[in-house]
Amino acid sequence: MHLYVDAVSVLAYVDPTTGGILIQMLLGGSGVMILVRLLRGRVRALFRRQPRVENEESRP
């Protein structure tokens, strides 16, 4: 039995998810260090976004 279909080059493979990756890193022994860096990174990301928004708004 043949199954006919147009093969579609569908994008990537499985999404490892942020949560999934972070769990592994936590379990992997990096533990507390990761959490600290995460919170730092989160804070950094928040600051990074604000200037961008301002620039867009100031464009005519």
Binding site: V5, Y13, G28, A45
Partner: protein, 468 residues
């Protein structure tokens, strides 16, 4: 770009490997990075070790000349492997708890074996596991990839969604997972499961980590990439192996809550005398022996008594029942070498075609026809329990099987009286004569037997030559 008129719709997601089902074989193609990966899987001895363990079906390398026709554009350096076809394809949303658990443990074992050989699995889809009888088989050879040191196990979240969480839904929350998985082909997310888990379960360390914590971290940080998080995700192999071991321990500890079900004991115990049961078994055995079927479908198999008989005289039996607890009971009676695959499926609403283009996952009908169908103690349930007319039942059976054994249970039978107990009897068409007339529309009746000490009657039927 891979161009093919014949790739299996279930294999469309990986741009570097594809599957073609043709004749008696399944062909698997590997191009680009995938051909290097499969080469590593072979040269490391991993594939052969798995074949030896019967975890992977035996394979042959297909030379350029032997490649199936109709396939266009395959590079000369692509690798083509060929394997025998399985008797029946089934899906996680059809498996009883015990089989999903077996598949989960099996998947982790394959992963561990791969890791020890310097490879890893690209994904952890439950659709990569199939069953021969009740024995799991790993079919997605394209999932093997060379291990890159430090790269995390990408399949972990998918393993949780497709294997762990559905098992936990049943073991820790008490809800069967089949309906959920049927609609959500990607599985159950940690967030969804966390909402249902009782507090007591959430506090179990392994569940807290893999479900609650994962769901919380995904909520807070999901959608951000590593750059935004200012972390470099790096996980070493020993950590992955430890995690696999812990997951294995967790899955191993899970049990489907046992409880009684209305059908699991009743029909078996009260409907047949010993003489009737013997006669019924004898009739089924004679018919199946004579027809020598490849595949038998036992619909409404209950505890599998007749499926086991059919298994002695066929290549494979698929035993289907709508009650998950009954199927679980049947599974517990089966030895690993018995060629019976027990599945949970409501025959009033059998598995539909699903996935992309509605073609990735086949419906029940698309996986037919069965050589023989056993419709024992089934028709009266469909007629009275689901209001399906006899003509429709007969037509449906003819659409899915070439021959079969069908049992007629008349009005006077205690079971029918029980089914009609609280209902108005509007079923004018339900009698032996109408039943036989409807059967003859699609089948030739080759033998009948009235069961002793019972009003029930068995029919051996063969589909009309002109039935498609």
């Amino acid at each position: 770009m891979l161009r093919s008129s014949a790739t299996d719709p279930g294999s469309l997601r990986d741009p570097h490997s594809a599957v073609v089902v043709q004749g008696r074989f399944v062909y698997r193609f590997f191009r680009g990075p995938a051909s290097a990966d499969i080469a590593a899987a072979r040269s490391s001895g991993l594939l052969d070790r798995l074949v030896e363990r019967r975890a992977v079906l035996p394979y042959e390398l297909v030379s350029h000349d032997e490649r199936p026709s109709g396939w266009l554009g395959l590079e000369a350096d692509a690798v083509v492997l060929r394997q025998p076809r399985l008797a029946f394809i089934s899906y996680p949303y059809e498996w009883p708890f015990g089989l999903l658990k077996r598949a989960a443990l099996f998947h982790l074992d394959i992963l561990r074996t791969a890791l020890e050989a310097g490879l890893i699995l690209k994904d952890s889809s439950a659709y990569n596991v199939q069953f021969e009888g009740t024995r799991p088989v790993f079919i997605d050879l394209g999932s093997f990839a060379r291990l890159e040191p430090g790269i995390p196990w990408r399949g972990y979240a998918q393993f949780c969604a497709m294997f762990l969480n559905p098992l936990l839904l049943q073991a820790a929350v008490g809800l069967p997972f089949q309906s959920w998985l049927r609609s959500s082909l990607e599985g159950i997310t940690p967030d969804e499961l966390a909402r249902l888990l009782p507090l007591r379960q959430k506090l179990r360390p392994s569940i807290f980590t893999n479900v609650v914590l994962q769901s919380q971290l995904q909520r807070r940080f999901g959608g951000l990439d590593p750059d935004e998080l200012a972390i470099r995700p790096r996980v070493e192999l020993p950590a992955i192996l430890r995690q696999v071991e812990r997951l294995r321990g967790l899955v191993e500890s899970l049990r489907a809550p046992a409880s009684t079900s209305t059908w699991s004991g009743y029909e078996d115990n009260t409907s047949y005398s010993a003489a009737a049961r013997t006669a019924k078994a004898g009739f089924v055995e004679r018919v199946v022996t004579e027809l020598e079927p490849d595949i038998v479908w036992d619909l409404g198999c209950n505890r599998g008594e007749y499926a086991l008989i059919a298994a002695k005289h066929s290549r494979a039996v698929v035993a289907i029942d709508g009650d998950p607890k009954v199927v679980e009971l049947m599974l517990s009676r089966l030895s690993p070498e018995t060629r019976v695959l027990p599945l949970v499926m409501d025959l009033r609403n059998p598995s539909p075609e699903q996935g992309w283009g509605q073609r990735e996952r086949h419906g029940l009908k698309e996986r037919g026809k069965a050589d023989v169908v056993l419709a024992l103690a089934l028709v009266h349930h469909l007629r009275f329990g689901a209001n399906v007319p006899l003509g429709a039942i007969s037509a449906w059976l003819a659409g899915i099987a070439r021959a079969g054994v069908v049992e007629f249970v008349p009005r006077s039978d205690p079971m029918v009286r029980r089914l009609l107990a609280w209902r108005e009897d509007v079923f004018d068409d339900y009698d032996e004569e109408t039943f036989e007339t409807e059967l003859r529309r699609h089948f030739v009746i080759t033998a009948t037997e009235s069961l002793p000490e019972s009003t029930r009657k068995l029919y051996s039927v063969r589909a009309n030559a002109d039935a498609a």
